[in-house]
């Protein structure tokens, strides 16, 4: 049984000070859906929980002409209920809607999903394809890290002691841009991705793809931004040949493992299929924008 010390600071500075000066293992508590379970299974004697949900802005999302400023601890339930955000980032909202059950979505957050840094995290590929920027506050001030640089390994990320994720910023998409995220699970609900793929495409008036981002999950130690897959889409009309080339590039970029959820061969194959299908959905949406 881990002895928990609980603090709920109301400012970023207060949280940084608690995290930086902790003399026992310190954990940031957002929705807690991963942290509470991990703590129950931990051999730590004691842990400091710094609950960041009382800090101004942590639970808010503001959509403006500059894009989306997302409080990292906003619950997936609050996030997916925002029709204004769904209109601009439908793929990201769908990814948040795939996490756990209704109950888990009532607590779990996009910032928590990012900081938990599971290779199978559903929202990370969707954040990456939307060019999300992670604003990290720490004892030395603030720094901004691109979402694709945030994870550094399985359950590892770029955050240093004393730091916390303050804001996730998504730039406003260009005209005729949209996104999609798909994952494969053997059930219909309540499961963890065997493979996942996020795609964002921008089209010109003739329907030619002028910009694209492709990110894949659960097929490598980190979520991967696959520029070769994006390159296969850019300059095309997203015809079947282009989609097949993007799928092949994504499969080639993956380095999956075999575990109880699927074999490496299966994951490598299926991640390409997901890229192809997500690109089709993103393209259909982009044409409508």
């Amino acid at each position: 049984m881990v002895s928990v010390v609980y603090e709920a600071p109301d400012s970023i500075e207060g949280a940084i000070s608690l995290l930086a000066n902790a003399d026992i293992p310190a954990k940031i508590l957002a929705g807690g859906t991963d942290l509470i379970i991990q703590t129950n299974g931990s051999t730590d004697e004691s842990r400091l929980f710094v609950d960041v949900k009382r800090i101004d802005g942590m639970l808010d999302a503001k959509l403006s002409a500059d894009g989306l400023d997302l409080g990292p601890s906003m619950s997936c339930a609050e996030f997916t209920a925002r029709d204004d955000i769904r209109k601009v980032f439908p793929g990201l909202v769908e990814a948040a809607y795939l996490i756990g059950s209704t109950q888990v979505q009532g607590r779990a957050s996009l910032g928590g999903n990012l900081c938990n840094s599971s290779p199978a995290a559903d929202t990370i590929p969707a954040l990456v394809v939307n060019g999300a920027q992670c604003v990290i506050a720490g004892p030395g001030g603030e720094r901004t890290v691109a979402a694709e640089e945030f994870m550094t390994g399985v359950s590892r990320n770029c955050m240093e002691k004393g730091e916390l994720l303050k804001l996730i910023h998504l730039p406003a998409p260009a005209a005729k841009t949209s996104d999609a995220y798909l994952r494969f699970i053997p059930r219909t609900e309540m499961d963890i991705a065997v493979a996942g793929a996020g795609v964002s495409v921008t089209l010109d008036d003739a329907g030619t793809c002028t910009a694209a981002r492709v990110a894949i999950g659960a097929v490598a130690p980190t979520v991967l931004l696959v520029s070769t897959a994006a390159d296969a889409l850019i300059g095309t009309k997203l015809d079947d040949d282009a989609l097949q080339a993007a799928a092949a590039a994504a499969s080639a970029a993956s380095s999956p493992i075999t575990d109880r959820r699927g074999t490496a061969e299966y994951r490598r194959q299926i991640v390409g299929v997901l890229v192809k299908r997500a690109a089709r959905i993103a393209a259909t949406r982009a044409r409508g924008n």
């Binding site: 881990v2 059950s101 009532g106």
Partner: protein, 159 residues
């Protein structure tokens, strides 16, 4: 270690309690407040037996710390029936025999109520997805879904 003092609202009534910082809301409800209608199934957020609402959102009380509900509004199965009789959803669960052992029932009723408040006219598919986090090992779900769909119709003023 000193216990934490928490002031909250449970089923619309002001409530204060003391708890260890690591105690879950589920621990507090069952062990300290004697609100034992909320059940512990898995203790890891997988089964939904401990479902409650927190500021109107459905959550697993095993994944919330007692100290986190400071200033919040908690809704449990004990607050579902507000008058003398049962809530419509409770009546429909009885009418349709939508339970066998009963361990999942409080969580399912709290979840069904949250569903119908968010979406008074769900399709069967929407109801099944919304309630996918509430596991029942006895019924096969068919009677539960029938009870929920019938509740929805009754609450909308039909039938």
């Amino acid at each position: 270690m000193a216990k934490s003092h928490v002031t909250t609202s449970i089923n619309g009534e002001p409530q204060e309690f003391l708890c260890e910082p690591g105690d879950t809301l589920l621990d507090v409800l069952r062990n300290d407040l004697n609100l034992t209608g909320t059940k512990e199934g898995c203790g890891s957020g997988d089964c939904g037996a401990c479902s409650v609402t927190l500021n109107g959102r459905l959550v697993c009380s095993c994944l919330v710390l007692g100290v986190e509900v400071e200033g919040a509004e908690v809704g449990t199965i004990e607050g579902v029936s507000t008058g003398d009789g049962l809530h419509v959803i409770q009546e429909k669960f009885l009418e349709h025999a939508a339970l066998q052992c009963g361990i999942c029932t409080p969580g399912l009723i709290v979840s069904a109520k949250a569903l119908l408040e968010e979406n008074p006219n769900p399709t069967e598919e929407e109801a099944r997805y919304y309630l996918a986090g509430n596991l029942c090992r006895c019924t096969g779900y068919d009677k539960i879904i029938r009870a929920v769909m019938d509740s929805a119709e009754t609450l909308r003023g039909g039938a």
